[in-house]
């Protein structure tokens, strides 16, 4: 049986190229499943991630450490402290932008204690 390879759009995402050439995998109003995370972890050609009003539910995002992503932006939705702490082992991560998510200043401090070089924009 022929298996068709899934593409970013099959997970509700789209690829945007910024003026500086960076490629952003952007998701909006999408349900982020474990399959989405596994798919992203195989993509070496994505520089940044943007999640706009996404539903993370019980997803474990720690596998994103397999990517070369340097910036992650999360806006609205149910991204929580649990997901943020899973980013601790995300080696390539340089900056995080959180806008209107359920992550407190205290949570950010805890994260920075383990990853002091990561910049919160």
């Amino acid at each position: 049986m022929k298996t068709e390879k899934k593409q970013l759009k099959d997970f509700g995402g789209s690829l945007k190229t910024l003026k500086n050439g960076s490629r952003v995998a952007a998701f909006s109003s999408s349900t982020i499943s474990q399959e989405t995370i596994e798919y992203l972890s195989t993509k070496a050609d994505i520089d940044n991630l943007l999640f706009h009003y996404c539903d993370f539910r019980d997803v474990d995002v720690s596998n994103l450490k397999e990517t070369n992503v340097t910036i992650v932006s999360v806006m609205h939705g149910n991204f929580s402290n649990r997901h943020l702490q899973q980013f601790v082992s995300f080696g390539s991560l340089e900056s995080i932008k959180l806008h209107d998510v359920k992550v407190s200043e205290e949570n950010i401090k805890d994260f920075l204690a383990l990853r002091p070089t990561v910049k919160f924009i």
């Binding site: 910024l18 003026k19 500086n20 109003s29 349900t31 943007l50 706009h52 910036i71 806006m75 932008k97």
Partner: protein, 257 residues
């Protein structure tokens, strides 16, 4: 008689100065937008994300700082909505000049956009940092193509075709309702076209998402990161639809986190 004439003249002068103020404010805003666009054009080759080239970064530090200041000022004291009132006290949006597009306010419980998105049409919104998304804002002429109406208990687009959200992201279209009860709907495109696009960042009476099949609403919610409408504002949308011929009382509202 003299008193009547004096009062009449006073009203005319007051109306003229109000209109002059609106024209001046509009011109000033356009000038700011032009300056910002020109500066952004100059810095086009060196986007703030160009971290690999520290020299290029240094070059744009100055204009970026000024733009940040401009944006922060906009957030602190956003420009007053350009609203004019006629002698009966009915409010109109000033930029809608054609008599056809002018509509009276029906709803006073309005929601402002999250200030983090201010200046997003210029690619300068705080919320969209560090990607600098430039969100499209529609002109009143463009907006008319996104208006949806209820015809024979179905939601139809401006051409009378039943709305269908099947091919939209997540199977849902976004909508906003303005203060006059007009509803606009369209597909979201992340970083490009959002709830704020319809009314160019102005206040809304309601906003959210709809799942629609052949003009029939299957689900509805007040999901909008830009506006975060209250349950009461969503109720205004439900009432407007009911008045027009679509009863949503048997369709539960999707929960918003």
């Amino acid at each position: 008689m003299l008193a009547v004439l004096t009062a009449g003249a006073g009203t005319a002068v007051s109306a003229a100065s109000k209109s002059k103020y609106l024209v001046n404010a509009n011109t000033a805003l356009k000038k700011i937008a032009d300056i910002v666009k020109r500066r952004r054009f100059n810095a086009k080759q060196q986007h703030p994300l160009a971290l690999e080239n520290p020299k290029a970064q240094k070059k744009i530090d100055k204009p970026t700082a000024k733009l940040d200041e401009l944006r922060d000022n906009l957030i602190k004291s956003p420009p007053k909505p350009l609203v004019v009132t006629d002698k009966w006290g009915t409010a109109y949006r000033a930029e809608k000049k054609s008599s056809e597009s002018i509509s009276a306010s029906k709803y006073s419980n309005l929601k402002k956009m999250d200030p983090g998105y201010l200046a997003e049409e210029l690619g300068m919104a705080k919320a969209w940092e560090p990607f600098g998304a430039e969100v499209e804002y529609l002109t009143p002429e463009e907006l008319s193509k996104f208006e949806v109406k209820v015809v024979n208990h179905k939601l139809v687009d401006f051409e009378g075709v039943p709305v269908d959200s099947g091919d939209a992201n997540n199977g849902k279209v976004m909508f906003v309702m303005d203060s006059s009860g007009k509803i606009y709907a369209g597909k979201q495109r992340v970083m490009e076209f959002h709830h704020s696009s319809f009314l160019a960042g102005e206040e809304v009476a309601s906003a959210g998402e709809l799942m629609v099949f052949d003009g029939e609403i299957l689900s509805h919610s007040r999901k909008s990161g830009h506006y975060k409408p209250t349950p009461e504002q969503h109720e205004q949308f439900v009432s407007e639809l009911k008045f027009s011929g679509i009863d949503l009382s048997n369709i539960a509202e999707d929960e918003v986190e």
